[in-house]
Symmetry: C2
Subunit: 414 residues, 2 copies
């Protein structure tokens, strides 16, 4: 019997009415003779409400108690969905991560899933139950409740699909797929039918917030096809799969589409430390200090300063981390005998992503040329095998996306 | 090292501010070198809010999913209290019922506690942690979350105190003890310092809603002293203990106070089925049918009808069950060839309670006489070894309590 794994996010189960809708969809799939496992997130704003309560008690909650607190959100939605299924005559049972056998590392708030013991899940499936599982959580070796960090429910779903050897993991969300770029910015942005794990990883990391990078990584590791689709419209979304599988299905893809999508990340800020006397270990010093404060650094550009043996170091961080990053950098200024620290929250990052770039030289140059013609100044550049990102002034970000979408012809399938 | 077990109810942990207050109280006890275990209920209206959500999905939730849902309420308050303790420098850890080793029967919604495995609790206490445990829940043999029914958190606390061999279980609540009667009805009602399990059981069953009968029963079984006290005022409340212990402490008690307290239950209704041809098995028939509909019947009075081989059967039920009880009884009327079914929601039950009654004949007569002199008509009577209850018209209930409080001299300690 085929095993179907569905995942519904917080918006899709945000109200009792929406939960009933989900139940009706799940029942249809179950009625067709499938074994069905559903992973759910917490309802809409539940997690935020729990954190509001917490903030009134402490600024510095212990990670263990944090997990104990927030994991209740998924438990509520899982129980309610199981009830909604039973109400329409579909046998169902809800399981916490622990009950479902999701074993994690002994690290609160951001454990990785180590193993999934399927006994209970299989027993419930065998009895004909739809199994509803709380996303985002498992238990550690002590039996403590552990959440698995950002993007957790998507990752739970993919890991459970992998453990059950399901062919596909359907992730239902409030968008109907992955687009060539944000349709709010470019009207004729096109839904992508198939995209490789690697390209999706880049797009997800770059601000296309439909799917957490970690879940994509997990799917690529176990070769689980993710079908990202709308929870309200019954239409095909985007399949995220291996290059090999895409190639098998449509061998022309790689040649024809060097650029698959364009992403805009407006949530960044630029910080720079200027005229640092250039000696070995400076970068390690700066980024070590930032890491010690848990500040994630994204792009890094080091340039030799024209005045001689001095370097300028510029980097981008999440905008909410800018203040802290500036403080850390200011402290280092004297120690490193640097001249000044600068910062700028009014920047954004525009990226083009596509596996085909590797074999199509000139793609980056085409991007730079297009931006230059539009009088958009590029402040920082970083590249990978399948991605080129440029930091530009924030107010020019949307325009840059529109221009690039056109230049790379993304509005039409080729 | 003495082990102290505290229980805080939903009102006492109803807001983040109140949780912080509880944390400060608990820390003081911990600072004095005690091992401390705290059992908590769900915050204020959390459980009601969860049930509101549920009601929007189903009228008939499966008991398993009900437990899965409502048990999250205690998990939230336990995590928040542990955080509040840590915030003021008191090491603490929260445990779910399952993590705390509370094993229940495999019955959802109303299991009894079977056993408590102390390993984890003892380990945490040894490490110097205050252990905060979710009341009202445990796990069954399958690892499913099970709630233990009405009065659950009080019972959890008493059972855990028993397992830990604590001397006293402090139950903090929004009243400061057990009174001779409701102070809102009788102004000079007096707080009782010591009361026996049996008397407390009767008072609790009769509407003195400070403590659930089940927790008292559990305490009597393991001889755990309950100290019922105010969560806001630092004063002695009421000790609930065995007769033997009370007698050791003050041997005069039993002789001097035949009546210890007076209870008023306004939540009842009377139902009667009249002129039932009297033959064996009628009572079993009627009360079997009511039990099948989960209607709890309290007082039962059967009287031979003056007209001959016929009986009148009257009983009281919880007022919310009256309609259903009348329906059940109406259905039986034809079958049993009874003449009519009557009902009356405007009644109440006044009871006097005291162990000393057994050895003081005339206590019941004194009650009937006092009510009669006040022109309060008694509709039904039921008695036990340590209790006399009368059903009277609802609007006369408070007056009856005031008169009896005076007649039995409860305003002064003797």
């Amino acid at each position: 019997m085929p095993i179907i794994v569905h995942k519904y996010g917080g918006t899709s189960v945000g109200t009792p009415e929406k939960i009933k809708n989900v139940a009706r969809k799940v029942k249809k799939v179950h009625d067709r003779g499938n074994e069905v496992v559903v992973i759910v997130s917490a309802m809409g704003h539940t997690t935020d409400e729990l954190i509001d309560l917490m903030d009134k008690i402490t600024d510095n909650p212990s990670p263990r108690e944090y997990d104990m607190l927030v994991s209740t959100g998924e438990q509520v939605s899982a129980a309610l969905l199981a009830m909604a299924l039973q109400e329409i005559g579909c046998p169902a049972v809800s399981l916490t991560g622990g009950q479902a056998g999701v074993k994690t590392e002994d690290i609160y708030k951001k454990a990785r899933i180590k193993d999934i013991h399927l006994d209970r899940m299989k027993k419930e499936l065998k009895q004909g139950n739809v199994v509803v599982i709380t996303g985002f959580q498992g238990i550690d070796s002590k039996g403590d409740i552990i959440t698995i960090g950002r993007g957790g429910s998507d990752t739970s779903a993919v890991a459970i699909a992998a453990a059950l050897a399901a062919d596909v993991c359907d992730i239902y969300t409030d968008v109907d797929g992955v687009y060539t770029t944000d349709p709010r910015i470019v009207k004729n942005a096109r839904k992508i039918e198939n995209i490789s794990y690697e390209e999706m990883l880049e797009l997800a990391s770059l601000g296309a917030q439909v799917l957490h990078p970690r879940s994509v990584e997990c799917a690529s590791f176990y070769d689980i096809v993710i079908h990202l689709r709308s929870s309200t419209k019954d239409i095909t979304g985007t399949y995220i799969k291996s290059v090999a599988q895409i190639a098998r299905e449509a061998s022309k893809m790689e040649k024809k589409e060097p650029v698959r999508g364009i992403a805009l990340d407006e949530n960044i800020a630029k910080v720079g430390i200027l005229k640092v006397p250039d000696k070995p270990g400076i970068a390690a010093h700066i980024f070590g200090a930032l890491a010690a404060e848990s500040i994630n650094v994204d792009m890094i550009v080091q340039s030799i300063h024209s005045a001689g043996a001095m370097a300028d170091m510029a980097f981008t961080v999440n905008r909410t981390d800018m203040k802290k990053a500036v403080q850390v950098t200011e402290k280092l200024k004297k120690k490193l005998a640097a001249v000044s620290v600068i910062w700028d929250p009014d920047v954004c990052k525009v990226s083009i992503v596509g596996k085909g770039m590797v074999s199509q030289p000139g793609t980056a140059a085409k991007m730079f040329d297009a931006l230059s013609k539009a009088k958009i100044n590029i402040q920082m550049i970083s590249t990978s095998e399948i991605r080129v990102s440029c930091v530009v002034r924030k107010e020019q970000g949307k325009k840059a996306v529109q221009i690039l979408h056109k230049v790379f012809g993304l509005e039409k399938v080729r």
